[in-house]
Amino acid sequence: MSAVRAIAGRELRAFFLTPGGYVIAALYMLVNGWLFVRYIFNPGEVATLRPIFTFSMLAFMLICPAVTMRMISEELRLGTLETLLTSPVRSAEIIFGKYLAALGFLAILLAPTLVFVVALEVYGRPDYGELACGYLGVLFAGSVYLASGILASTLTASQVVAYLITVLFWIIVLLGTKGLLQTDVLPVAWQERVGDVVIAADPTMRLVDFAIGLFDSAHVVYFASLTLVLLIAAVGFLETRRWR
């Protein structure tokens, strides 16, 4: 466990020692601030952060792969992966440490939005259950994007390729599920059964539920297990590096 902490700590610090982390954080906060003053912080408006949650769930699809793209790829390119894999550390500890660091970075990214919560409390009566549910949804969305980004990063020594694989994957998933449901490409006999599977696999509907404060334990199981599966796959691919 101390190895996980060491790896997570090093990764998290690396974000703040390179300009990339600050650029991402600045852009994200800028948009959040604008959303808040434009759509939320108005007289008579409902005391909620829904626009910010919805935006974050989408924005994280682009931000998370940027956070994770260098995690393994860069180590591969620089050769530092050799020092990691010859340390008495399990591949799972390496992947988990990096995942925690990325999640920590998202938490740091989200922390300033708590100012909005304070503003809502001062000027209105926010529903804290809904807010907590929204934050949870944003973190879950981030969690699966990060896990998939780390998986992509184990596949290539190129950060750009790792980024593109992840973003394209999610674009295909999101557009694909919408497309399958809304167009008539499926044979009629399959529509109902395949439709159910697609709805179950689609993360967007579940994220909308979180954003509007609808807590469903099935959603929690969905995101937690999807994260776990992606991370286990990443561990597997990292392990295969030893066989090449």
Binding site: S2, R5, A6, A14, E82, T83, T86, P88, R242, R244
Partner: protein, 310 residues
């Protein structure tokens, strides 16, 4: 400390390491010698658990690296070729990170880092970011990182490549210092380096171990014959020398006045002929001005091995 048994690594159809066997004992300083692409780095990577062997196995301090790799890895301090480092970190931070990875307990961590810093003379740069350091310093940071968990085994892959002559001399000095209480395995394509730092050599070529032994053993083997240089003033010297047991040929190297120089070549395995030569010359009434045996060079053996067909 390190045992390789029929160790083999295939990359696709390319046989990088071909059924290699060797044994490295505790406290030995062993050099992997061979040209680039001979399989040294691949073998080292299998020892350190970075690559899994296609066949055969490695034991590090009795731990099979395929079964309990982390046990073995704890015993090893490894400096990969080109010393990869996280350049955004400060020297001290990096050493602390490595100490944590190797499970150095918090209580002793600061002392372990201090010792590694001292050993590798990094005192002046311990607070500097690695990105600002020269190649020589980076190599030393890599070595300090390999030492920080105080492993009994040190494995250095081409530790002197890319360094300037002063840095090379310093690093060799440091390796010799560490030799006292570590088992050291270093790889190099530089023959002089092996002769200067190692007491055992394992020669690699095309993925196979072609020769192994102490430097002296290999030198004698290398010689194939021993050569003596004699300068004397005996008129019948060539005939007398030729008559000595084991002598193959006597070659004149010319001379000045009555003093003549000869090269005497003896078969391998014959005893040291220096006394016999001196006595034989004295019996003819002549005197000897110079007599020495030429040290056989490893280079000859090395070149011969490289030229051998597989």
């Amino acid at each position: 400390m390190i045992t390789a048994q029929r160790l083999t690594k295939k990359f696709g159809i390319f046989l990088a390491v071909d059924s290699v066997d060797f044994e490295i004992g505790k406290g030995q300083v062993v050099g992997f010698l061979g040209p680039n692409g001979a399989g040294k780095t691949t073998t080292i990577r299998m020892i350190c658990g970075y690559l899994r062997p296609s066949e055969g196995r490695v034991l590090v301090d009795g731990h099979d690296m395929a079964v309990e790799p982390r046990r073995g890895q704890r015993q090893i301090g490894y400096l990969p070729e080109s010393a990869p480092l996280y350049t955004e970190m400060r020297v001290e931070e990096y050493l602390a990170f490595r100490a944590k990875l190797f499970g150095v307990p918090r209580r002793t961590r600061a002392r372990a880092i201090g010792e590694a810093v001292g050993r590798c003379s990094l005192g002046e740069v311990r607070k500097r970011p690695i990105s600002q350091l020269s190649k020589g310093y980076r190599q030393r940071v890599g070595l300090a990182a390999a030492l920080v968990h105080q492993p009994p085994i040190l494995i250095l892959d081409e530790p002197t490549s890319g360094l300037d002559p002063t840095q090379i001399r310093e690093l060799r000095g440091l390796i010799r210092e560490l030799a006292g209480n570590h088992t050291i395995l270093l790889s190099t394509h530089n023959l002089a380096e092996v002769e200067l730092t190692c007491d055992q050599v394992i020669i690699f070529a095309r993925g196979q171990v072609r020769a192994a032994g102490t430097i002296d053993q290999l030198r004698t083997e290398a010689a194939g014959e021993s050569r003596y240089i004699v300068e004397c003033d005996a008129t019948g010297a060539p005939k007398v020398l030729k008559a000595l047991p084991g002598v193959g040929s006597v070659e004149s190297l010319g001379g000045e006045g009555t003093w003549q120089r000869f090269t005497v070549t003896a078969h391998n395995g014959s005893q040291d002929l220096r006394e016999a030569i001196a006595k034989a010359i004295a019996q003819t009434g002549g005197s000897v001005r110079e007599l020495h045996r030429e040290a056989p060079s490893l280079e000859r053996l090395f070149m011969r091995i490289l030229e051998e067909p597989t």
